[in-house]
Symmetry: none
Subunit: 226 residues, 2 copies
DNA sequence: ATAACTTTGACATCGTGTTGACAACTTTTT
DNA sequence: AAAAAGTTGTCAACACGATGTCAAAGTTAT
């Protein structure tokens, strides 16, 4: 049974997460500030740490950095507020394995937990740079380049691309995208998705009229091909 | 006679369901909170449990999880309100076999009950990839290949094929197809079915004039042979 | 305040679903 | 056995919904 430590100062968040994670058979421990969380992690050697960025005593960066120094193998998922998006990069550079922006759906987090745990067990690391034909996507730096030249992807576009890449070869419905990329608390209509897909295609497809990476499945959704 | 347990706190809902299910020859038992429902199920070993998500004492998740631990084979259909849709997947992950969103039509629920019972009895789950001679059908990806080459199936064609495969060897009438693939609230004429069958045959039969997979039974319907 | 991004709605376009007509076929009736 | 009646196969035209595209309005970050 995998042991997960949550380091987060919002008690409601901890309660909810704990309930959901325990329901799925994980063993869950929690700490409400950075200092205690750090010590708890050292003592317990968890299989995964879920780490809030804003914390009393020691912030998420520090904890992340310290933890990775002591136990380099421990996987860390960071929780960040939307307004902290710019700081995701820093977090990833300090060694975090993934991040989830608040407010997030439980399912979203669960999916990432599963993914991170699976990678940790197989010894595979989160790939830092993803190559896609002439395109290069760097998840740590949140940047992309096409034929060596920087391509400007907005953060939404980035998240969509990330979601696609994590599901290469699967068919993803517009609802899937809305639920996972946008989150459970916003309800844009599905046309919004189309617009973003169109923009993404313009940026990453060689021939926009014959997309080879983001393919439409009429009436079903989109499929990403690497 | 199949035994069904309903765990649901809205008495009107229980009364209505009970009436409808008994009219169809099912034996029906009910409980009005999670705790009692759980105990009842343990004691009675029903063929199917219909489980509301929001319940007094123990919520649907808990009951689902507990039940599946005790009697892993028992099929469970979850009832959820629309606003709880995000949590559906959660339920499915905990082991529910299907879910129906309130408000639902009785026919809809009945159809699902039949489907779940049939699967439970034959022990057969719809396989993800189905092989059929030179044909390969991937239900998860909504895609098919013939001799390795991608075949373009529309969503309607897919649903029809799926329905056929689930009933391999049975004779399926046009009305069956209309009711189950199209749904109870749309009324195309039966010629529409023929047209779709014709298209399907063109796509999956080796010799369209001598169909070996989708066979016509004059005056009755079609039979699918694997 | 400005710029960048997101979202929405309008419109064009495309793929799919549906229908009806007719031919081919099967069954029933004479 | 032939004719009649009914069923099914096939096709093309039309209807309809889904998607692509764009501009404008709304929102957020700087």
């Amino acid at each position: 049974m995998e042991k997960i430590i949550i380091i987060e100062d919002e008690k409601d968040m901890v309660t909810g997460l704990k309930f959901n994670l325990e329901a799925r058979g994980y063993q869950v421990l929690a700490a409400y500030d950075g200092e205690k969380g750090y010590r708890l992690a050292l003592k317990e050697h968890p299989d995964l740490v879920i780490l809030d960025l804003m914390l009393p005593k020691r912030n998420g960066y520090e904890v992340c950095k310290l933890l990775k120094e002591e136990i380099p193998s421990v996987p860390i998922i960071m929780l960040t507020a939307k307004s902290q998006e710019a700081e995701i990069v820093t977090g990833l550079e300090l060694g975090a394995d993934d991040y989830v922006t608040k407010p997030f759906g439980v399912l979203e987090l669960l999916a990432r937990i599963k993914a991170v745990l699976r990678r940790a067990q197989t010894g595979a690391k989160t790939p830092e740079v993803y190559r896609l034909g002439p395109l290069e996507i760097d998840f740590r730096k949140h940047s992309a380049r096409k034929e060596g030249k920087p391509v400007d992807l907005s953060s939404r576009e980035f998240e969509i691309l990330k979601y696609f890449i994590e599901r290469t070869g699967e068919i993803v419905s517009r609802e899937d995208l809305l639920n996972h990329v946008w989150g459970y608390d916003s309800f844009p209509n599905t046309r919004t998705v189309d617009t973003h897909i169109a923009k993404l295609r313009q940026k990453i497809e060689a021939d926009v009229d014959n997309p080879r990476h983001i393919v439409t499945h009429h009436g079903v959704g989109y499929e990403f091909l690497g």
